[in-house]
Subunit: 465 residues, 2 copies
Amino acid sequence: MSRADVANRRKIDAALEEAEALLGDRLTTSRSVRDLHGESVTWYPTQPPDAVAYVQTTEEVSALVKICARHKVPIIAYGTGTSLEGHINAPYGGITIDFAQMNNIIRVSPEDLDCTVQAGVTRVQLNVHLRDMGMFFPIDPGTDASLGGMAATRASGTNAVRYGTMRENVLNLTVVMADGTIVQTARRARKSSAGYDLTKLIVGSEGTLGIITEVTLRLQAIPDAISAGVCPFPSVRHACDAVILAIQTGIPVARIELLDDVQIEACNAYSGLTLEETATLFLEFHGTQDGVLEQMRLFSEIIEDHGGGPFQSADQTEDRNKLWQARHDAYWANLAQKPGLKGLATDVCVPISRLADCVEETRVDIEKYGLFAPIVGHVGDGNFHLTLLIDPDDKNEMDRVNELLERLIMRALAMDGTCTGEHGVGIGKMKYLEAEHGAGVDVMRLIKKSLDPDNILNPGKVVAV
Amino acid sequence: MSRADVANRRKIDAALEEAEALLGDRLTTSRSVRDLHGESVTWYPTQPPDAVAYVQTTEEVSALVKICARHKVPIIAYGTGTSLEGHINAPYGGITIDFAQMNNIIRVSPEDLDCTVQAGVTRVQLNVHLRDMGMFFPIDPGTDASLGGMAATRASGTNAVRYGTMRENVLNLTVVMADGTIVQTARRARKSSAGYDLTKLIVGSEGTLGIITEVTLRLQAIPDAISAGVCPFPSVRHACDAVILAIQTGIPVARIELLDDVQIEACNAYSGLTLEETATLFLEFHGTQDGVLEQMRLFSEIIEDHGGGPFQSADQTEDRNKLWQARHDAYWANLAQKPGLKGLATDVCVPISRLADCVEETRVDIEKYGLFAPIVGHVGDGNFHLTLLIDPDDKNEMDRVNELLERLIMRALAMDGTCTGEHGVGIGKMKYLEAEHGAGVDVMRLIKKSLDPDNILNPGKVVAV
């Protein structure tokens, strides 16, 4: 052990001792628990923390952060561990705060269509709770993530084209800052011009500016009618052109998802579907009975103009659930196509006018590099995903993968897009931030340094300082 | 002149000399121009800058900010001067940057429903430009403000209930930071998880963190059908309850404005209307022909259940324009009610469930303090305005006014609302920020200090450091 390592071990031990006095057996240093908390669902190597703390209140989080601040020990917030860019890895050790026991729904206001939950509440848990009240929370990244984690990564998903992302749907956050101070980022009012928008600063900051402990969310009334369907197109371009026209003409489509031929093949095999193996849109319409019928009629006209069809609707809840389950299982369907390989999920987002170009050029690249990578996209937002099936130990393949990823991101940036539409930066996208934001990264670093001068909050992520 | 004054004068003179070399006769120190730029439309005393600079490019703004940074001279961004809380006053002198000559529409993308404009473009100018392309920009604070100013104050207005505020509708900003660095806050993608949300941090920062020079905005398709109407109610509470139910049931109303009896009386007199002088909703519905009819049918049922009506619709463009012109002229209608007095416009925003309470209690206060103050509200958002008609020289009256305002804001805060829904902080609401945000104000101050260490950007506003 070097002298620095010894000093580091000492401060960690000191912090752990105090943390254990605070939390008792809710602080654990068990190897298996630590490994689980340092292991992402994607291909990143596991980097465990020194301990995992199961907190129950905001005040406990504050006390724990104060301990870590005193000893300059890293602190990493952990929801369900489903992030995709190594957000919850602990490259410098420290204490991971697990929010699984902070899962109370604190308050629901049907009149205001909003609620406040502890950070560990998951989106499915919330929606089960809301169902009988005629409301739902629309943001749906597929996995049953915690709402604190979704706020921290600025998550979105299939419904974002109509309802926005976490950016638009978080009204207020309770946040523990790097010195342990507890801050409310806003009030429950729908809008405000009272000072800097701390809510939006914390949303998407991935635990590097503060630890989210409670989340106040906008809710939606469950629509009278929901109808879904699938529609094949001759090509990705035909499908994208149909989407552009649907958005342009103001059809308030709730979900509009593109699956390319490779992805449909995987979904057919995994989810027992029998879809034509071509570029396909999965759609959902929300509204009144008449409104949904009208939206479907308008969309059907657009399909015809773009050589698509037939449009198969799924009006029954059961059919609809089967369809969306297949969509949400796309990642697992892909893994099942190549047993033994790891999934590397990545996403970019471009202006919708460039989406067909970006997908087509990427598909050409995938062939060129001899890789297997189905494409799915939240195409109403211009956002799409690749799932590369890889063997991380195959150096030659990984070189090709990395070249493909770099080309994908530079392509998206050249189209005035972003290196990640919804997965976040974590460790994986850090190297692209300068290319995307230029001098903006310096501004981010100034903010990070001013709010976390000792760099204890999720160090080594986003804009590592 | 004190020694400090002499030193201050010297650095301002040095900055002006360099600024003149940069801009020639586009830098003016004329007394009348300076007074105009230090005079808000409301009652605040005029505080002129030392000079006004008419800039034409982002690079010029950058060069000017570098000059001011070198000499530590204040710099204040100015759009149309229509802000209401003293945002553009120059309490410490310095140079005001007027964006009137930076009014080019740089780019419009119908496919992506977005555009980029220079900061001096006004919303009416933009909408005239967009009309033939079948698009519009929905944010409408009433006055024909500049889009840079609207972004800087996080403006909203009558359409926000459906289309959001500037917070939701700015995709990207070009910003000159305090050291003259030019930053793009984001890309043109609809969503992104790539780092801290600099766009949302600058939106609403009122020129205190950076100077906005270009704005990329989301646009909307002009709906097939627009229908408007007015509906009287027995009381503010009846009207608010109807609004809550309309929002709760998901009617996508585009505008839903409350005018109380006092405001209707003023509008009748000023705009030649003949409305019943009682709490009244002004409404607008956007959608397809069928969709608008359905919205109006659903809303009519709600009206009946809440003792309102009759609902008078205004489907013709001319009638609709007359109605909304009257709404937008409410401020001038109020001034006309009390010739010789000044208007003091203020706003708060509360969760919609508390709106009726807040308006009713405020109305009782207005009577108690013997003041004249019509109330209008963007009630779909829980946001409402008082226009107090005042004589700033009447000390006794101003004491009562200030007590009323303080009680109004504390009432809104106690209801988990905000001290300003859309007007912003400027000078006028600074004293309430601590009450609203508590320790959050310290976070704001850290950000301000880190991004503008010499406090040259609109000093003395928001979180004066």
